[in-house]
């Protein structure tokens, strides 16, 4: 079976600076894959290439959605990538601060709805049904994420942990087959991280969404990842299960800067 995401030899140059060098990565259906590495390794750049913010200088990005055809998505527009089923969160939370929690999630439904200008003005039966469906589905997602009580609060007034969860809820509203989470546990205390772990596992199990996440928090990475890919200075230096990566000397050296088993 094809991997839902298949990246081959991706290289990304910014003028003279090579941010990524021939990176291979695969996410299989139903996997939780972690992308780790020291700061500046190119992890967010990798995400940006997959999602269409940058077009990779070289290499191929293939997706195989469970409900669709396999296709190459190099250089596809950001919103097209989302329509195809890739949704993401951001390293620095990018919510819509002056919209309510519910509305933030409703934005996620935008690409799964159709009403246009005429529909907006005339507000006929099908438009009204679609609008109600958007509201209902968004509310549902918020209930399942645990933000049902804050539905009408402005996003900017939410506490930090809730904001991170809202970003995930919003991404889920786009009905992705692959969810890319950029440091979802950043700034969280251990209890919140524990809850996040459960949330991610449930998203994978109940929504059947594959997960690719960038993380620095090793506890959550080792705890829930099916596979881990390690980047350093733009190159993939290791790939494997949590147990394999934990023992991998190359990885240890990259993080600690010396050969521990010398």
């Amino acid at each position: 079976m094809d991997s839902v995401l298949n990246v081959n030899g991706m290289t990304m140059d910014f003028g003279g600076l090579r941010a990524l060098q021939a990176v291979d990565l695969r996410v299989r259906q139903g996997e939780i894959v972690a992308l780790i590495g020291p700061n500046g390794a190119g992890k967010t750049t990798f995400f940006n290439c997959v999602c269409g913010i940058y077009e990779p200088t070289r290499g191929d990005i293939f997706i195989s959605p469970p409900a669709g055809r396999r296709r190459r998505i190099n250089g596809v527009k950001i919103n097209e990538a989302t329509e195809l089923g890739l949704a993401r969160t951001f390293q620095n939370i990018r919510l819509f601060p002056n919209m309510t929690v519910l509305e933030n999630v409703m934005i996620g439904r935008h690409c799964r709805a159709k009403a246009g200008v005429l529909g907006a003005i005339l507000r006929g039966g099908s438009t009204r049904r679609e609008e109600q469906e958007i509201v209902d589905r968004s509310y549902e997602i918020l209930v399942r994420i645990g933000l049902a009580d804050q539905v009408d609060d402005l996003a900017k007034n939410l506490p930090y942990g809730a904001q991170r969860r809202l970003e995930i809820a919003r991404a889920m509203a786009t009905e992705p087959f692959l969810l890319l989470l950029d440091e979802p546990a950043a700034g969280m205390n251990p209890r919140e991280t524990e809850e996040l772990e459960q949330l991610i596992i449930r998203i994978r199990d109940e929504e059947r969404i594959s997960i690719l996440m960038i993380e620095h928090d090793m506890k959550i990475v080792m705890s829930i990842s099916d596979r881990i890919f390690v980047l350093d200075y733009g190159e993939k230096i290791a790939e494997g299960t949590a147990a394999q990566i934990r023992e991998n000397p190359v990885v240890i050296k990259a993080y600690l800067g010396e050969d521990v088993n010398a």
């Binding site: 950001i78 989302t82 003005i121 009408d152």
Partner: protein
């Protein structure tokens, strides 16, 4: 003592302003008669005025800081001002709306032709403000060349009438369409531009269009403009000047209601939300599947439609147009209406337009200071109340939970 230091601060500020305004406000040179006029009274005004205002200024800035610090600390929700909470009660706003409606209907019969004309102008700016509100308030695209669409609408009526004899009612929808077309045309090149560059380029477009109208004599008849533009007809009846004024007034009322209806619908719709998301965070909104290009162009086009229509009305109302009516200052005026009213707020824009257009008329003493008022409004609103006079409240939706799937994902 603190009061003493405050007094000292204000004293020095007042001295500073007296110094600052001395050449321009006090001295007036008449080079022909070779005399110098010294207007010391102005200096006194400035001295006293700045002294008092500096207290007010510092107080308002301090209270703004307090509100900001409280918001940062996470406490203190957005408390709506008492006036707005009262107004939100149905038993207040429903009769108020009815009263306003009755007043609007009776207006031309209670007041003179001249007053009716002024009100019509105010309503035109309401419509222009609502149109620009879509572009600037909802979508967050600072369009400083909005007047271009206004000009395009006016000239389409004037020229189509001149060359083909088309009447007002025929051209009104055409004006809207041409406006929308130009909205897309002028929106296309600015798609990739960031906030302030977008503003300047649109300003440039506005000026370019005005300069073309002024200089391409064969097409637009240049600075002398086009005259004898017919007023809107009423089934071919011949209307006296007064009757035509009243007719135009009711026409404007109807069009304003139409505009309010459409803009309201647009704002609370999928496309409206997309605009607001675009304004809030362009990258995140794309990541959520919103096509940035389509959304921006739709905003430009829909915003420009209203300006096009008002342009047609303007031509019909004044029966004479020339490029001098379509300067950057017009765009700035409409912008200040949106800024005063509150970006994205329909009620706010209506109030803003009425305040900014009517107050110079009714406060006759201040009418010469009209543009000063516009300029000051923009600065003061941005510094003290950037959200506008009407706080924009996000809509509360009614949602239904599906019975089966209520299981939360959280443990």
């Amino acid at each position: 003592m603190k009061i003493l230091s405050e007094f000292r601060k204000s004293f020095f500020i007042s001295l500073w302003f007296m110094f600052l305004t001395f050449p321009i406000l006090v001295i007036r040179v008449n080079t022909i008669e070779k005399i110098v006029e010294w207007r010391w009274r102005n200096m006194a005004f400035i001295g006293i005025g700045s002294f008092l205002l500096s207290f007010v200024w510092r107080y308002l800035l301090a209270s703004k800081e307090r509100v900001r610090k409280r918001a940062e600390a996470g406490e203190g929700e957005e408390v709506k001002p008492i006036s707005q909470r009262v107004l939100d009660e149905p038993w207040v706003y429903r009769p108020a709306l009815v009263a306003v409606g009755l007043f609007a209907l009776a207006f031309p019969f209670l007041f003179s032709s001249y007053q009716t004309n002024i009100m019509t102008t105010a309503l035109m700016y309401v419509m222009l403000g609502l149109g620009l509100n879509i572009v600037v308030g909802l979508a967050g695209l600072l369009d400083l060349g909005y007047v271009a669409f206004y000009a395009v609408g006016a000239y389409s009526y004037a020229l189509l009438n001149y060359h083909f004899g088309l009447g007002f009612w025929a051209v009104l929808p055409v004006g809207a369409l041409i406006g929308a077309f130009f909205g897309i045309l002028l929106g296309f090149p600015v798609l990739r531009l960031r906030g302030d560059y977008l503003a300047i380029v649109t300003l440039g477009f506005g000026e370019i269009i005005r300069l073309i109208l002024e200089n391409w004599n064969e097409f637009s008849f240049g600075p002398s403009g086009i005259a004898n533009i017919p007023r809107p007809g009423l089934f071919g009846l011949k209307l006296s000047l007064h009757e035509a004024t009243v007719y135009l007034y009711f026409l404007m009322v109807a069009l304003c209601l139409f505009t309010i209806f459409v803009v309201n619908r647009l704002r609370d719709s999928r496309i409206g939300r997309a605009w607001i998301a675009l304004r809030e965070d362009e990258v995140a909104c794309q990541a959520m599947g919103i096509d940035k290009t389509k959304t921006k162009l739709t905003a430009f086009a829909l915003g420009a439609t209203w300006a096009g229509m008002v342009g047609v009305i303007f031509a019909a109302k004044t029966t004479f147009i020339n490029p001098a009516s379509f300067t950057f200052l017009e765009s700035a005026m409409i912008l200040s209406i949106v800024v005063l009213g509150g970006m994205g707020s329909i009620v706010g824009v209506i109030l803003g337009a009425l305040i900014l257009i009517l107050s110079p008329e009714y406060l006759r003493a201040f009418s010469a200071y009209r543009m000063l008022l516009f300029g000051m409004t923009m600065v003061l609103m941005m510094v003290f109340r950037p959200q506008g006079i009407v706080t924009n409240v996000r809509r509360i939706y009614k949602y239904r939970e599906r019975e089966t799937d209520g299981k939360p994902l959280q443990a």
